[in-house]
């Protein structure tokens, strides 16, 4: 980060511009204040061409502000927006050559589906015949052939969503912005559209920035996920990496469920570190030497990485005695709530046909290897944010 700030002069601009020729979008040191409150703070994003990057975060984390800045609806207080290799800070939205789908879809109700999709083609110098061809092609792509003459109000929510997508894609934008496009759909339709959007992205390879607060959408659809918190990017990685190696406590709990153990590092020996919490000790493999003896440690443990043992026969690096307090059967999995001292622990298991699930009040041992606990940073410590 410091290096970036030092470079934030002529040299910085040049590197930014040369790298941007290859990239679809480059945000450099973006900052935005609303009434003296920092909404975005030194945000850096670089997207490769054809990539689908997700900005994931809770509401109010600044992800929609980022999108509005890229679209040009609002102006940044500092930093540069480089679109298609050119500085775009001063460009009005109509000159940015973007495709966009809003959460509300913002279809024009007084126009037919055909007219809605054709709206962005007015200054392309196309003949009516070509326009009709393009729109027919788009309607086939989003699987809505033959609906051109209908009005949006005559279509279902999912169909309206597809029209909004077709309208965004027909202009062949170099960057597609999706602002929570699926949050107005019901659960079943949302799952279908996630796959559909992924299919269309794979087919067209348009650089796409998706903004969402749904971890599922982010994991299913993206090439890379950038987790945002308080106007900063906390971590950016592939979905797999971000789930398996979350950097901070926030990332770990925001993507998927996690048990968080807080404690003090008791000892370090040959790659085995022991962390003592108020209730028990945990053995951790600290391969990258991130923990220091006597220092504070925050560990994350995914519920599906814990085994419940009732027999006392098996051994593992960690075996923590606990009592089952609640059993929730969800069909494809069973969630157990356990208590070890003061600590509540969540465990996820697959139901088996032969065994009946454990029952409430049962004394068990929780087994997990020393490689399972994730070493996390506290949220305040990672104040610097990360470059994407």
């Amino acid at each position: 980060m410091l290096a970036h700030e030092a470079l934030d002069s002529q040299a910085g601009l040049e590197t930014a511009e040369t790298t941007s020729r290859r990239s679809g979008l480059h945000l450099h040191g973006l900052k935005k204040l609303f009434k003296e409150q920092v909404v975005l703070d030194n945000l850096n994003i670089e997207m490769a061409r054809g990539e689908l990057l997700t900005l994931l975060g809770p509401s109010g984390c600044g992800k929609s502000t980022t999108l509005n800045l890229i679209a040009g609806f609002i102006q940044p207080d500092a930093g540069r927006i480089i679109l298609h290799g050119k500085l775009a800070n001063q460009l009005p939205p109509q000159k940015r050559r973007l495709g966009m789908v809003f959460q509300s879809w913002a279809l024009f109700p007084h126009m037919t589906v055909f007219e809605n999709i054709a709206y962005g083609l007015h200054n392309r110098k196309l003949s009516n015949y070509e326009i009709a061809g393009r729109i027919e092609e788009m309607l086939r792509l989003v699987r809505l052939p033959g609906t051109g003459e209908k009005f949006p109000s005559q279509l279902s929510g999912g169909m309206q969503q597809r029209v909004a997508l077709a309208r965004a894609l027909v202009t062949e934008p170099e960057l597609l912005l999706l602002d929570e496009p699926l949050s107005n759909l019901d659960a079943a339709l949302r799952k279908e559209m996630e796959v559909e959007l992924k299919r269309i992205h794979n087919q067209l390879k348009i650089t796409t920035l998706l903004v969402t607060h749904s971890q599922e959408e982010a994991l299913v659809m993206s090439n890379r996920v950038a987790v945002m918190q308080n106007g900063r990017i906390t971590q950016v990685a592939t979905p797999l990496e971000i789930y398996n190696q979350p950097k901070t406590r926030f990332v770990c709990t925001f993507l998927g469920d996690a048990n968080i153990f807080e404690g003090v590092v008791e000892s370090k020996d040959k790659g085995v570190t022991v962390v003592r919490t108020n209730n028990f000790s945990v053995m951790v493999a600290d391969d990258n030497d991130r923990l220091q003896t006597g220092g504070r440690a925050i560990l994350g443990l995914r519920p599906e990485n814990i085994e419940i043992d009732t027999t006392d026969a098996r051994t593992a690096d960690n075996a923590i005695p606990a009592v089952i307090t609640d059993v929730i059967f969800k069909g494809s999995n069973i969630t157990y709530y356990l208590r070890a001292g003061e600590q509540v622990i969540l465990v996820l298991t697959l139901p088996s046909m032969s065994e009946s699930p454990h029952s409430e009040g049962q004394q068990v041992r929780l087994l997990f290897p020393k490689s399972s606990p994730l070493i996390l940073e506290d949220d305040e410590e990672s104040d610097e944010g990360e470059d994407v």
Partner: protein, 308 residues
């Protein structure tokens, strides 16, 4: 248990229950219908009957049978004086509508963009004239527009005109004051209409490459068309049938239909002719209302897309 559940079903949705029984539903509307019948339908029917009565009955009670003719209408449409009057009314109505829209639409649009004290200030400025009695307001305009009044003196002092200004007795004065009177209504209707357009739609139009003018013409204007039509109908009907403003501002100089109706009923005492003129006024307003609504709906294809 078994006799309780239907009772719960019925109690749950009183509105559905009313819909299921139209007679009860109708009972709620009945008092209103009675009032409308007594104070609107009967007078209109009486007016209709009188307008077709022979002028021999102009000063007396019209008998019910055998005295009807088109005498009044023949007189009106055969006389350039009356035709001129209808044209005058149409000019005043149309002029006021155009002027009101041109002034109110930008105000309403600005109103939707602002927040806080500025918004309050504009709203108060729009509503305040409604609290002033129209006679007082017209008197104010009278002083402004009078020969040797404020405006004339000001323009003379600036050297822009030489001699008295004919402003007070002209169409312009009439349209100015009628516009002033109707701007508050227009702003409120148009602002409500503009407020319904989500900023997303306007932003979307811009992302899709539209500049300010195209966005206005293709998105904002069509979507506010219902509000524009409502404004046009309201302002046109109110200004074409306004008696007080033309009576106080222009008097007999600009002969409009309401002035003529008043003359024929009060001093010329030809009630049947007055009734015929009234009917013509009514038909003009009703015709314009229906015509505009249908035209606007057809232009924006509203019936097809709007969810009723």
């Amino acid at each position: 248990m078994s006799d309780l559940s239907p009772a719960i079903d019925q109690a749950a949705t009183p509105i559905q229950e009313l819909r299921a029984r139209p007679t009860q539903w109708g009972a709620l509307v009945a008092p209103m219908l009675v009032l409308v019948f007594i104070f609107f339908v009967i007078p209109i029917l009486y007016l209709l009957r009188m307008s077709f009565a022979e002028q021999a009955f102009a000063k007396s009670v019209v008998p019910i049978f055998g005295v009807y003719s088109l005498e009044n209408f023949a007189e009106i449409f055969g006389d350039i004086f009356f035709l001129d009057m209808i044209v005058n009314s149409l000019i005043v109505g149309t002029g006021t509508v155009v002027a009101t829209l041109l002034i109110s639409y930008p105000i309403a649009y600005y109103l939707t963009l602002t927040r806080g004290w500025e918004r309050t200030l504009i709203l108060v400025a729009c509503l305040l004239p409604l609290f002033v009695n129209i006679i007082v307001a017209v008197l104010g305009w009278y002083i402004l527009l009078l020969p040797f009044g404020v405006i004339q003196n000001m323009l003379s002092a600036l050297g822009l005109i030489d001699g008295p200004l004919g402003a007070l007795k002209s169409f312009w004065a009439l349209i100015t004051v009628l516009t002033y009177e109707h701007i508050p209504f227009a702003v409120l209707i148009l602002a409500a209409s503009l407020q319904n357009i989500s900023p997303d739609k306007i932003n979307m139009a811009r992302v899709l490459g539209s500049g300010v003018y195209r966005t206005f013409l293709t998105i904002v204007l069509p979507l506010t068309m219902p509000g524009v039509v409502a404004t046009v109908i309201l302002v046109f009907a109110l200004s074409i049938s306004s008696y007080l403003v033309p009576a106080l501002i222009t008097g007999q100089q600009v002969m409009v239909l309401p002035i003529a109706i008043f003359s024929y009923t009060s001093y010329l005492l030809n009630w049947t002719l007055a009734a015929a003129i009234s009917l013509i006024l009514l038909v003009i307003v009703a015709g314009i209302t229906f015509g505009l609504t249908i035209l606007a709906n057809r232009l924006t294809r509203r019936g097809e897309w709007e969810i009723v």
